[in-house]
């Protein structure tokens, strides 16, 4: 049991290194950070990712919550005002552009979605319509709630 968990830990590490190679290239080519900065940035982000995934696997014995929530929460806790490592974590994470992981993500997602291109083409117009509706709905409802609260609390 323990050996299996260990294998998965190293496997995850290998996969993160594989993904990281592309992300570091993106950070250098697309966002003009140096190699050292990029390595520092990925050391923090990849480390948090690995820790989050590992914690999630452990916690899933007790409660099933999305892995990405643990990853995000690990990052939040390490960078929050109470964290003793916050300066280092924030400084190194700042060496990695926000959208630097997105290009690799897009490339893999594209290859993965390659099996459904015809479907996407067929649904294209509908998906644009839905996107417009989703943005509109979110904006208007958010403005409505904010407006009500501002009036109720007498702020405006």
């Amino acid at each position: 049991m323990k050996a299996k968990a260990e294998i998965r830990f190293f496997e995850q590490m290998g996969l993160l290194a594989l993904a990281g190679t592309i992300m570091i290239l993106t950070n250098m080519i697309g966002y003009k950070y140096t190699l050292v900065q990029s390595l520092q940035g990925y050391a923090v982000l990849g480390g948090i990712a690995l820790a989050g995934v590992t914690i999630s696997r452990f916690m899933s014995r007790f409660i099933k919550l999305p892995t990405m929530m643990y990853v995000s929460l690990t990052g939040l806790l390490l960078a929050c005002p109470l964290s003793p490592f916050k300066e280092q974590v924030i400084a190194w994470a700042n060496n990695f552009a926000f959208l630097a992981p997105a290009t690799a993500l897009g490339a893999f997602a594209g290859i993965s979605l390659g099996k459904d291109m015809k479907n996407f083409g067929r649904m294209g117009v509908k998906l644009i319509a839905i996107t417009v509706l989703v943005i509109t709905g979110t904006f208007i409802m958010s403005a409505f709630v904010a407006d009500q609260v501002l009036k109720y609390t007498g702020s405006v």
Partner: protein, 281 residues
Amino acid sequence: MESSIKGRLLRYWKVYAGALVLAVLSDMIGIVKFDIGIGTLTLFPMVFATIIGGLFGPDLLRLFDMKESGAAGAMVLVCLAPFMAKMGVGAGANLARLVEVGPALLLQEFGNLGTILISLPVALLLGLKKEAIGACYSINRDSNLGLTTDIYGPDAPETKGTFAVYIVGSVIGTVFMSLLASIVASWNVFHPLALAMASGVGSGSMMTAAAGTLAAIYPDYAEVIPVLGGASDMLTGITGIYMGTFIGLPLTTWLYNKLEPTVGRIFARNTINSNAGGEAE
């Protein structure tokens, strides 16, 4: 233990090398902006990588076969983790500012859920199936993409819905938000400060576009609008993933299960081609 990684590398080297080439090419193209008169369309490197990657898939140019396509899906999840880590660090670094924001800002985060009631019924009427859940439960920005992919898996119809709205939103988001902000402002029903908070519902660039438009419309509030928009954007970055996990997705799934049997039946009578759903394979 390294052997499984090695095995994967040997079997799927084409996927990894392909993704690397795609990413480098897309980054060299960089961010492309089109001025279309009413605003600017923005194409991020990620969009190029996705589209070109898709063209090489088994459906069209066949450079990658079905199995390789599947291996790429597994890598999507791996790539999401550092992305979520970056968002988490951003949220943590801004945590102290949470205290400064008022109750209106906190509560308007719940307004973000309003889209479900409006967009889900329409999505079903348009003939979407489970894609509608992923497409409609949130405004589908970065953390939502991570969440849906994680919960349903990279090949699930729900994930395709989220991914589609994420991509389309990244292209038309800025131009559409500034258009929307000026239209809603012209109704004169919401206070300018409420609109300022609403401009933070999406990505950072959407917020900048909407807040910029609003600041031009309401010069008296020009200074405070971007501040509120930025605070709301930051707040969505912190709360988004929890909102989606605990409220957005359960609510959307519940509503889908209520509505789909009825709407789906009407739709099935109108068109024979139900293959456009997620169960393509």
